[in-house]
Symmetry: C2
Subunit: 328 residues, 2 copies
């Protein structure tokens, strides 16, 4: 395989995705296809491929396993859209809005099972069974963490007094865990030793947390049509993102009461959205959020010292930068 860049790996993954999900008359296939395609940035599978290559493995046989990371990611989006009652995703109707809740439950489950089938498919491509088992184990652990993150997030909803730590724990469980697994799967299938797999796992986890912080900042920095989903979903679901938590901590008692009220609003009225945005902008919450994202990105970057120089090492080194850039 020729040297992979970030963009050529996206093309490769996209081709493989389309090959594996052709148009068929089957309704469930159509729903899964709708959930997966057109593909998003596929950052997790791209990291899997480049971790495999950066440790000296051939990324080609890792392709199906890399797609498994996207399957699990998309499955959680589909199920989260039911839980959060979100009608819009990637700029169009979410799966539950387009096909109903029962179909969305089934399509999400299907994607999870297909993810594990895709990883075991790597063995047919000649990868050793020990690496495949390690990859399955990493993905299963990440999936369990995702569920715990979703559950913890629901329990925290509406409470701004909990501080930053629970937010970071949710980010670690809901986003860090799957980034971590993306790197573990790539490194394990690429034949890395345990120390290298561990370093890349930590790289992925720190990067995932940075990425989540940055993602939560989009509501304050981008127009809704650019981010392709509702900017009020977090508020409607009482979800306190980092800027809101920081703004609450920096506010007067009256300001705190108003912020808590806006978060409990439920309907996420325009007034509530404006109130929260004003409170966030009245403090240093955005700057402090960027700074924390940069801190996690920096920690991620430092883990890469274990890798030999290569084109894929360069790609991995560049991700923390663009994942936390002020503009993409």
């Amino acid at each position: 395989m020729e040297t992979l860049t970030a963009s050529s790996s996206w093309q490769l993954l996209h081709q493989e995705m389309q090959r594996r999900w052709p148009v068929t008359p089957d309704e469930l296939d159509a729903i899964v296809r709708y959930a997966l395609l057109p593909a998003g940035k596929m950052i997790r599978p791209i990291m899997t491929l480049h971790c495999a290559a950066a440790v000296g493995g051939d990324p080609e046989p890792v392709l199906p396993a890399a797609l498994a990371l996207e399957y699990v990611h998309v499955a959680t989006l589909v199920h989260d859209d039911i839980i959060d009652n979100d009608d819009v995703r990637r700029g169009r109707a979410s799966v539950p809005a387009a096909y109903g809740v029962p179909n969305a439950i089934i399509a999400g489950d299907q994607l999870i099972f297909d993810a594990f089938a895709a990883i075991t498919g790597s063995q047919h491509a000649g990868l050793p069974a020990g690496g495949v088992v390690a990859a399955v184990s990493a993905l299963a652990e990440a999936g369990a963490a995702l569920c715990r993150g979703q559950s913890l997030e629901s329990r925290l909803a509406g409470d701004l007094s909990v501080g930053v730590e629970p937010y970071l724990e949710v980010a670690r469980l809901k986003t860090g865990a799957l980034f971590r697994a993306a790197c573990q799967v790539g490194a394990a299938l690429g034949g890395a030793d345990p120390a290298t797999i561990g370093a890349l796992a930590d790289y992925g986890e720190q990067l995932g947390i940075a990425f989540q912080i940055r993602d939560d900042l989009l509501s304050y920095t981008e127009q809704p049509d650019l981010i392709g989903k509702s900017t009020t979903s977090d508020l409607s679901n009482g979800r306190a993102t980092l800027p809101v938590l920081l703004a609450w901590a920096a506010s007067s008692p009256d300001g705190r009461t108003a912020l808590t009220g806006a978060l409990r609003d439920g309907a996420a009225s325009q007034a509530a959205v404006t109130l929260v945005a004003d409170a966030v902008r009245a403090t240093t919450a955005l700057e402090r959020s960027y700074a924390l994202a940069d801190e996690y990105a920096g920690r991620a970057h430092r883990q890469l010292a274990v890798l030999a120089p290569s084109a894929s090492t360069d790609v991995l080194a560049a991700v923390p930068g663009w994942a936390t850039a002020r503009r993409w």
Copy 2:
């Protein structure tokens, strides 16, 4: 390990289940525990253990992988109870009725991921990686089949003119596939050769179909409190079970219209339940359903010719009999 009987293997599995799911303060743990315990008949994990033992393997290290089959089974029950809007399961509130739809979605997902984590856990118990990969692959394929079965069943809802074949296909996908995987996982982890794994896979699939036919007959032969779930759920969801399909085929045009109307009723009124039960009993539908269950059970039984005589072979040979018995 001492010689396993059907009942000692249930005890062993139940102990392991309780050890793995202790009472904790975590809400998600509590929901998963509620879904899993008290345990049901655990027929799938019992088959996994006995398949492992029957091919000459040690069932002890297979215990976590055997529980994986129960996790996936229970996950599908939890998600099906959302889809079918069923409030009762195993004689008490279903998971969505007790904890709400969002928690039920997350708990089901958690069980699926835990299933794959449990199978990879077998490797720590010293089982070879190749067998673990085969077991993961079998479970992932079965899970995908379960989703396709659920989807096909929804599409068939309300239509009695489709005949028996689609019903059997749904039974194969929704029940046969996981019984098949239960046997594949046990045989693969027990170290069986491919031909033996294949025969036990077919045993499981045929047995699963027999089991599903028998399960669908319970509505006509048992009191609701004995089967622990709503006897009207199938009707409410327009689900045409084998006796209803056979009764429809044997009915006059007016009788067919009445049956179709009862199935489309939606609310599953007592009048609709009575109409369907009377129509079924007015024909040979129940006898013919029992006969078809016996036929599949017989096919399952014949697959066991590949096994050497042992206590576990005896257990496997006995299952088709009790799975299709008129009374349990």
